[in-house]
Symmetry: C2
């Protein structure tokens, strides 16, 4: 028996587009002699469809697409994810299902049992958990169908869940397992996934065919990396990362092989590819081609410019250099050098006369008050406004260049440098931005060295340095990581050797700046805990604040 895995880049709600992709893949798989082709979880709707699932018209279109796919299941079986209606009145209206289509019929439907409802996942909001377990018989084989999270409770050892769906399905002695997934990328998750897949195959002593999405849906990036593992726990194949791929596997060959073909995973290489895919898909799926961003001469905007040029083509990335009276000469030079290295078009628009016009307008109400935060932020907002004027005039999407450290402590100006349609590096701590810059420069100097070596500064008043008001990023980032990713208490963080007052001050900054992050653009997610939909905090809370 030959099984095809199709890791494709679907588009939420684009039923025709998704159908067309699958139709082509079915034809290709048939040409290669596949008996079964597998598409990922909710491939029909795209993942995550979020509250569109509450629109009966959206479900009607999904059902219609499943019906069209059923017509294609002729000489080949199709496994595909789509919502299905819960026939029982009680409980949620939908299941998150794996359809098994064969002989132009819906031969079987299995419902997802374990519904992730944490971090970015809201599946209990929409779906009723599946509660019955079967196998599907096809061409003399018994197949255990499963959806994503259902393989993540091996032997009931995952503390989140009380049921192990595959233990139930295993009672029917399946010949192999198919798992259709929508497993988002984070830079340290790929190895967990291989581990879980291995554990499943070893427990049930059968091969497992795992197919994942590839592509980005706003902030959530899917890496692909579909896996075939055999009954010995050997990884027969790990499919490509960050690209669409269709591969056909021979079941017997998988069973007999003892090869272990796992891809090398380098953190910065993965992040680099993920962000490029995230950028490409945000623009592509919204139907835009051109980006704009402000190049300050600092490292954050430099890294974003490089990524954008790679993702969209240098000619589609317009850089604005917007010096104020506080910008150092080298900032403009550094930014210009970068733009020239990349070959992106750039404009230099000094903001001093606009700044002066504002200060003149504010002359009476601000009379006698010293230069302060208002004047600093004003510069950032003038820049944000000029960037948006270009965006409106020429149809470029503004890229946000904030990093995770500054988003955490509120070191950014709302409606100024926090502007943008998409935050590209908002899930990278400042120290990781430096790592990524080094990775980008691994073969040649793309980012001018001076941008990387000079001390970080917002340049919003004379001789300002980030270190005037923030601890060294090496320290700051470790404290932030322990609080944001590890959810540690102040006491626990202090016990790691950080000064008590500093910990209290940093954690307070994180918490009182929730109002700013609420209005941040969506952040391309590459870690296990990104700001945005995966981290939901009260604004008016008073905890460590």
């Amino acid at each position: 028996m030959k099984i095809a895995l199709a890791q494709l880049n679907f588009h939420i709600g684009n039923f025709d587009g998704n159908y067309t992709k699958m139709k082509q893949a079915v034809a290709d798989a048939k040409n290669q002699g596949a008996d079964i082709i597998c598409f990922p979880e909710l491939a029909v709707t795209g993942y995550p469809p979020r509250d569109f699932l509450e629109f009966s018209d959206f479900i009607r279109l999904s059902d219609q697409t499943v019906a069209r796919l059923t017509e294609l299941a002729d000489g080949i079986a199709i496994v595909v994810g789509a919502p299905s209606k819960n026939p029982v009145v009680e409980g949620k209206d939908l299941f998150n299902s794996a359809y098994f289509l064969a002989e132009k019929k819906i031969l079987h439907v299995t419902h997802k049992t374990l519904l992730p409802t944490y971090d970015i996942f809201d599946e209990y909001r929409y779906f009723e958990p599946g509660a019955s377990f079967h196998t599907v018989s096809y061409k003399g084989k018994k197949i255990a169908l499963s959806v994503c999270e259902d393989i993540w409770n091996v032997g009931n050892e995952n503390p989140l869940y009380t049921i192990c769906p595959l233990d139930e399905a295993a009672k029917y002695n399946p010949d192999f397992i198919i798992n259709i997934s929508a497993s988002p990328f984070s830079f340290n998750h790929a190895d967990d996934r291989l581990g879980i897949i291995r554990e499943n195959t070893l427990r049930y002593k059968v091969p497992l065919f795992y197919v994942n999405h590839v592509g980005a849906q706003t902030e959530i990036i899917f890496a692909g990396g579909s896996v075939v593992a055999n009954q010995h726990g050997d990884i027969f194949d790990e499919m490509p990362f960050f690209e669409e791929s269709l591969k056909v596997f021979d079941l017997e060959e998988v069973q007999q092989s003892r090869k272990n073909q796992v891809q090398q995973k380098n953190k910065m290489e993965l992040i680099h590819q993920a962000l490029i895919l995230g950028l490409k898909d945000y623009f592509g799926k919204l139907g835009f081609k051109k980006a704009i961003l402000g190049l300050s001469g600092g490292i954050d905007s430099a890294v974003v410019a490089v990524l954008a040029a790679e993702a969209l083509g240098a000619e589609n990335v317009r850089c604005l250099l917007l010096p104020s009276q506080f910008s150092s000469g080298h900032s403009v030079d550094d930014a210009r050098d970068l733009a020239e290295n990349l070959g992106t078009p750039y404009d230099i628009i000094p903001i001093k006369t606009t700044y002066d016009a504002f200060m003149k307008a504010l002359d009476v109400p601000f009379k006698g008050l010293p230069f302060g935060l208002a004047e600093e932020n004003l510069q950032a907002r003038i820049r944000g406004t000029i960037l948006m004027a270009f965006s409106n005039k020429f149809g470029n999407i503004l890229l946000n260049t904030s990093n995770k450290s500054e988003a955490a402590v509120g070191y950014g100006t709302l409606y100024g440098d926090m502007n943008g349609g998409l935050s590209v590096i908002g899930d990278l701590y400042k120290t990781e931005v430096f790592e990524l810059a080094a990775y980008i420069n691994r073969h040649q100097e793309i980012i001018p060295t001076h941008i990387i070596t000079k001390p970080p500064s917002a340049e919003l008043r004379p001789d300002q340095k980030d270190s005037d008001s923030l601890p060294d990023y090496g320290i700051l980032d470790r404290i932030l990581y322990e609080y944001i990713e590890e959810q540690k208490s102040p006491n626990e963080i202090e016990a790691m050797g950080f000064e008590s007052k500093l910990v209290a001050r940093i954690l307070r900054m994180v918490n009182i700046n929730e109002f700013k992050r609420y209005q941040m653009p969506p952040v391309l997610r590459v870690s296990d805990k990104a700001f945005g939909i995966g981290r939901r905090m009260p604004i008016v809370g008073k905890y460590l604040s």
Copy 2:
């Protein structure tokens, strides 16, 4: 037996503050001879604590507060909501529990069974559902304790759920039911609540004591309106709306009474009070006193100014009049008349010279291009920037004045008039803003009549009217309501008599503007479906777009 209901205004994560409030209420209730005092769901932490629940330190502080409350349960029993730890490894770590504290001990803990996971609710993200059902015996009475949603599945008729917790508890023949709730306000929800409470008392033939939160937590407003109903389904009392209240009820009197004391509920009166409470608490809980907003001379900013002046005191609301070259003379006059009616301080700062400075800076890149969206938005962004400069300089929170209709169709400028810490009327359609203005003017002309009667205009180019690009608000709002609140399909909306092309155009506008709403401030929620955390939509989706 005497039962006290304490509907208090808690603050998320402010354990000391919440404890102090409850301590005072316990003393008051004891003075009035109460045997039991009831506080709302998760009163200890404030509701909703959201992802703070994932911090073990936060749970430690909550447990500590429960322990302190236990010490107060001396001569009086205390019913209070707080998270409790799930002792079983499998499943979520916490229950959403009702503690019964008496004789300085935790006498009993009941866990919430029905965990709302829809709209603004994410309870399955944090909590394991309760699965055992008991009553508590206290002073010769058997009491069925329940938490919020647990009374919302009377006779298993709520299609969302498969269990009816009170049917289980009823098997122990309780003398009465206590329900501790965190039931958010929406203008048409109060009567549903009375209906459900009645149904429960009629089904179980015992009185029900229902205590709710009062106060706002960022966007979510709790109205109070706690209820005592008896075994005949009579409403013995409905406590005040929008204010803290402690009342002591005699069980026997409740049982014997046949009075039905239900408050009159007028939609605009409720909305008016809700928004004022929402404003008060947003400022109070963040520790701010002063607001700022732009007064355009239009109805939206006028209504927000009135609400802010009522909530914060006229002297704490600073109004900026920011006319451009396209503002009509009457706009400034109307805005000034309003500020003078209210007695709020105001400043007039024309934006033309700042606008000219921007246009000069953009002279080269914009050369030869006609006046368009970029120039319109530029005016809005200059205003937003001046408002934020005041906000930074003087410590005022900027109030957003967008309405639900314009947020729906994207008729607002991101980083311009969409700025603000809080959206005050973002859950009111334009037609409802007019209703609210009429309500505000019910006794005297607070909002100058001309503001209400003139045709709506953004005044961003010569002789602009909203009706140039949008249908009449009477039509627009009905289409929006059917799509947003009722989740109807284009076909269903057309079948109501709306033109097919118009419906398609409006629904497309709603969907392609999700990127703007993603960056909107939190919106005070007064309807069943507000933009923000209760409506979660993909940005890159392609459905009706």
